[in-house]
């Protein structure tokens, strides 16, 4: 490898993307790369929001300090991001680059559009996390198995240096769980074979927004007033890994779930039963814990 190898992570807040990117940088340093960088890109720090993180790996010290615009590898931690906007994920990806995706669903794979010459690797990180119970505060740390998948796909870093990096950043028991997840992902990662029509010309990197010059007050845009609407940042139902399901036989219509829902996603239908709006339910499990009759159960969702 010559020059700088650049990596872009796509995930959601709370999935451990920033931590995983830091671990990758340390692992690459252990591997013998002199120049390593790990850069988080977050708006307001908030769970569930789309975030990005960047890595630069080089044999020589790196003097460039910016976001990554033309990555050699893209890691997609949350599959709902790529099904939302394919071009936003592959933007700037060099031809001959790597795309590592966490998914097990065939419809996501068949709807992929990747730049020519790219190789796509798949791993089912969600079920690895569920299997090993790799969670922080109720959320699956999906980014950790992706490290193993990245190592398999690019063979830039070895499993051994990843393991060293993980043990140096976590306590013993936690580190073991994370190493298990990485090894499991390394073994189960496979290369995807796409149809010829799924390869498209490379998508150019997005350009920074240019603010128009204002010389006179007539140049000003009209006063922006936001209008209230449901789903002000999109379908927040994509955030959840488990969904609440109401058992109508046990439910006594006490409406405690409606009272305690922080999202106001629970409505009452004509027969008086609570009804959950799955488009916006974030899967926080408050209703599951507050239901006095235990009529609500959490069901793992396919993503």
């Amino acid at each position: 490898m010559s020059g700088i190898f650049e990596v872009r992570w796509h995930g959601r807040g709370g999935q451990g993307v920033v931590t995983a990117s830091r671990i990758l940088a340390v692992a690459a340093f252990n591997e013998g790369f002199v120049g390593v960088q790990s850069i988080p890109w977050i708006g307001a720090e908030r769970r569930g929001a789309q975030i990005e993180a960047y890595n630069r790996i080089s044999r020589t010290p790196i003097l460039l300090h910016s976001q990554v615009y033309a990555p050699d590898a893209v890691i997609v931690v949350d599959p709902s991001i790529i099904s939302e906007d394919n071009n936003a994920v592959v933007r700037g990806l060099k031809s001959g680059g790597f795309l590592v995706i966490n998914t097990a669903r065939s419809n996501i794979i068949s709807s992929l559009r990747v730049p020519e010459g790219c190789s796509v690797y798949l791993v089912d990180a969600t079920s690895i996390c569920l299997e090993l119970d790799l969670q922080v505060a109720g959320l699956e740390v999906l980014a950790m198995p992706m490290l193993g998948a990245f190592a398999k796909a690019t063979s830039l870093v070895s499993l051994k240096s990843l393991e060293e990096s993980i043990t140096s950043s976590f306590e013993a028991e936690l580190a073991k769980k994370n190493v298990d997840a990485v090894v499991k992902a390394y073994e189960s990662t496979r290369k995807a074979h796409l149809m010829p029509e799924q390869y498209v010309p490379p998508v150019p990197p997005s350009k920074p927004i240019r603010i128009p010059e204002i010389h006179h007050w007539t140049d000003l845009p009209p006063v922006p007033v936001s209008t209230p609407s449901k789903g002000s940042i999109g379908n927040t139902g994509d955030w959840r890994t488990r969904k609440p399901v109401i058992d109508k036989e046990k439910c006594n219509k006490c409406l405690f779930c409606w009272m305690y829902c922080p999202e106001a996603t629970i409505n009452i239908d004509d027969s008086g039963f609570p009804q959950i709006d799955y488009n916006y339910c974030k899967g926080c499990e408050v209703c599951f814990n507050e239901c006095p009759r235990k009529a609500i159960s959490m069901v793992v969702e396919e993503k």
Binding site: R46, G48, S226, K230, I233, E263, Y280, E285, N289, E290
Partner: protein
């Protein structure tokens, strides 16, 4: 003394039940609607408040639904899963109704309200600089008064950083002027919007990114500071008790002058607990006596039912260890420190029991 009490009850009954009817009979038709509406509100409030004080602290949710089915915080906003603050805002707005203007200094509230061109709150919502929330609210109250709009409630919805640290000077100024608005502080006990930095409201022993070994200093008691301003109404509440919060907000709406309500809102990412426990943790805070629910109305201190319950029945009090160990942010606290905290809470509750129903200041 007893007969005097009976007499006062009789007089108040006459004022509440009989006078309005006489008034309505002899008033002009135009005024009649107005007064009818006013007394209707009062009746609604009184019946609600008696229910709140008497039988139980939670009305049945079904009764609640008939009264407050309208949603003003819309689903699909960008708050975290299990956010206590959106739950609190949801119930505050249900109590205040449609004719409300929110002024919001920088906080999580600025984030979950959403980006242009869409917003998640269906009442006017103005985002303000960190230190200037109460100042902007004062200006808004002045503007509405000048236009003669008397039915609009102005509220300030601020986080604990914007209240206890950065916004405290303009808050104190507006309290001194007794500006006619309601100030809500939702207290998640750190700067959560920027990723958990210590604030004046963070309790002792809590981990934040700026206090990695646990905070040494204790929490600033904002509600009592505001009560010392001698404002007409100060209350504390918690997002895990929607009936309590709803009742206090309804009550505050009917009072003129500056009103201050301090709400404890558990924050899953910052306090380090599972999102599903968001309501349970707030309830543990109240049941252990770590957080007290009370009102200071015209200087008179009165405990609210959930807190009075643990004072009257010590066997229902939860050990504070249960609250502390349920959260990751207190992981650094030793058993000794927890025992000390328990002793502090016990002595605090003893003093509070003496204070209940008495004037707070000389």
């Amino acid at each position: 003394m007893q007969s005097f009490k009976n007499l006062s009850i009789l007089v108040s009954r006459i004022i509440v039940h009989v006078l309005p009817i006489i008034f309505l009979m002899f008033s002009r038709k135009r005024d009649r609607n107005h007064y009818f509406f006013k007394y209707f509100c009062l009746f609604r409030y009184l019946s609600f408040h008696s229910a709140l004080k008497g039988r139980s602290e939670t009305l049945s949710a079904r009764k609640f639904f008939q009264e407050a089915s309208e949603e003003y915080v819309l689903p699909g906003n960008s708050a975290c899963q299990g956010c206590g603050s959106t739950l609190a805002l949801r119930w505050v707005l249900k109590a205040l109704g449609k004719k409300t203007v929110i002024v919001n200094p920088a906080s999580c509230g600025c984030v979950y309200v959403g980006l242009y061109p869409r917003t998640a709150v269906s009442v006017p919502y103005i985002q303000m600089a960190f230190a200037a929330g109460p100042a902007a609210a004062s200006g808004m109250v002045g503007g509405l008064e000048a236009q003669g709009k008397k039915d609009v409630t102005v509220i300030c919805w601020a986080g604990d950083g914007g209240t206890a640290d950065i916004g405290v000077s303009s808050l104190s100024g507006s309290a001194e002027r007794n500006t006619n608005y309601i100030y809500f502080c939702y207290d998640n006990e750190a700067y959560m919007n920027t990723g958990t930095q210590r604030s004046g409201s963070t309790p002792a022993g809590a981990w934040t990114t700026t206090t990695p070994l646990g905070k040494k200093e204790s929490k600033k008691d904002m509600a009592l500071i505001m009560a010392a301003h001698r404002v007409p109404y100060v209350a504390t509440s918690c997002s895990s008790y929607p009936a309590d919060l709803y009742g206090k907000t309804k009550k505050a709406k009917l009072i003129q002058g500056m009103r201050y309500i301090h709400i404890l809102t558990p924050c899953p990412p910052g306090w380090r607990f599972d999102t599903g426990l968001a309501v349970k943790i707030g309830r543990l805070a109240v049941q252990s006596g770590m957080w007290l629910l009370y009102e200071v109305e015209n200087g008179v201190f009165r405990l609210s039912p959930p807190s009075r319950k643990i004072l009257e029945n010590p066997e229902k009090r939860v050990p504070v260890k249960e609250y502390i160990r349920a959260q990751g942010r207190f992981r650094g606290m030793s058993e000794n420190e927890i025992t000390l905290l328990q002793e502090m809470i016990d002595s605090k509750l003893e003093k509070v029991a003496e204070l209940d129903g008495k004037p707070l200041f000389f």
